[in-house]
């Protein structure tokens, strides 16, 4: 009987995903109302719950895709995968104000360059503090601090060691997860309550999953503005890190 249910869950993975996520969100909203009197948004708790599930799943399966590596929960992989994520993010733009988007053009470009450069410098600084001296490793870890896609793309282009690549990806993951958790907590302090600031936020933090989840947990109305800016961040990082930023790093630390 148990086996029969298990098989049904696996065969109808996407439906299982709907139920798991629906239940998780339901529990989170109850917790939000009872324990925090609504101060911590239900979706913020749900996203944190998702990360906990990812940890448990990763521990049990030894894989890289969190809970989605367990066969019964593979549908969550489809539900939260790149295809449906992009599809629904685009849908959030429906009803957004085109004028608000146009007004913030120049500051957003500034925030993109500032965000990539600042994250990169911090990553290089930490790598240096931990004893790395060769420019390729420093650049790869710095690029990982930009996003977990910029890291391995840069490392592959420069020929970094696999140990450094793994560290670089881990740094990017830490960033994404931290942005998801911290954004709703400090939204007020950084004035994140309007489309303009949301775009600057998206351009400065830039990690797609972090920004999209962080804004969802803060105010869903701001999602399209932040994501619109963030969508250029990883591309810019992949462009700057192996070129200008690598040359600058090599000039500072000839190795």
């Amino acid at each position: 009987m148990m086996d029969l249910i298990h098989q049904a869950l696996i065969r109808n993975g996407l439906l299982t995903g709907f139920i798991v996520v629906g239940a998780l969100i339901g529990i989170s909203y109850v917790l939000s109302a009872r324990l925090t009197r609504g101060r911590l948004h239900g979706s913020a708790i749900a996203i944190f719950g998702g990360l906990l599930l990812a940890y448990v799943g990763g521990r049990f399966s030894g894989g890289k895709s969190g809970i989605a590596d367990l066969p019964a929960f593979a549908g969550i992989g489809l539900l939260g995968g790149a295809m449906l994520r992009d599809f629904s993010i685009v849908a959030t733009a429906y009803g957004a104000s085109f004028d608000d988007l146009k007004k913030s053009g120049l500051p957003v470009v500034l925030s993109l360059f500032a965000g990539v450069t600042v994250s990169f410098i911090c990553g290089v600084g930490v790598a240096f503090a931990f004893g790395y001296r060769d420019p390729v490793s420093l650049t790869t870890i710095g690029a990982g601090a930009v996003t977990y896609i910029v890291g391995p793309v840069t490392g592959a282009a420069l020929g970094a060691s696999s140990e450094v690549m793994a560290l670089s990806i881990a740094a990017g993951l830490v960033k994404a997860i931290l942005v998801m958790i911290v954004t709703p907590l400090i939204a007020k302090a950084i004035g994140l309550d309007n489309p303009h600031t949301a775009m600057i936020y998206g351009g400065t933090l830039g990690t797609n999953s972090g920004v999209s989840a962080g804004l969802a947990a803060t105010d869903p109305k701001l999602v399209p503005y932040g994501v619109m800016a963030a969508t250029f961040y990883t591309g810019l990082g992949c462009f700057l890190a192996p070129s200008v930023l690598f040359l600058a790093t090599r000039w500072l630390f000839p190795g």
């Binding site: 709907f18 849908a91 503090a129 896609i149 997860i177 400065t204 989840a213 969802a216 869903p220 462009f239």
Partner: protein
């Protein structure tokens, strides 16, 4: 019909992603540059134009609104498949490299936002 909205949304999403991939290729960058952003602009422009001509009825719009509402559940599912174990395995180096940048980036947000707002008030 609902499918019109869903189909239009899928068309915009796909076309934007193709544009982003093409831009990445042209720039010699191994990543999608601005794909979702282009998709969003396309959706805004097309729904606006169609609504003005009466070709995008509320029923069609509900196909878009449904997927917009599915956004948070999808993000929760995305969180549930992050490599959290991998992030923790990176140890203190990965944690510090990832988090110090986040602290500085957050601190930059109000600074840059103020620059933009000051300019806007001066300009208009």
């Amino acid at each position: 019909m609902i499918i019109y909205g869903v189909a239009l949304l899928a068309f915009c999403a796909l076309l934007g992603l193709v544009v982003g991939d093409t831009l990445g290729l042209l720039l010699g960058v191994k990543a999608n540059v601005g794909g979702v952003g282009f998709s969003m602009i396309l959706l805004l422009v097309l729904t606006d134009a169609l609504t003005k001509r009466g070709g995008f009825k509320p029923v069609s719009a509900s196909g878009v609104i449904f997927w917009s509402g599915m956004y948070i559940p999808i993000v929760v599912a995305m969180a549930a498949q992050q490599n959290v174990v991998g992030a923790l395995k990176g140890g203190p180096l990965a944690f510090l490299a990832g988090s110090i940048g986040v602290v500085f980036s957050f601190a930059l947000v109000p600074v840059i936002a103020r620059i933009g707002r000051g300019k806007r008030e001066g300009g208009s």
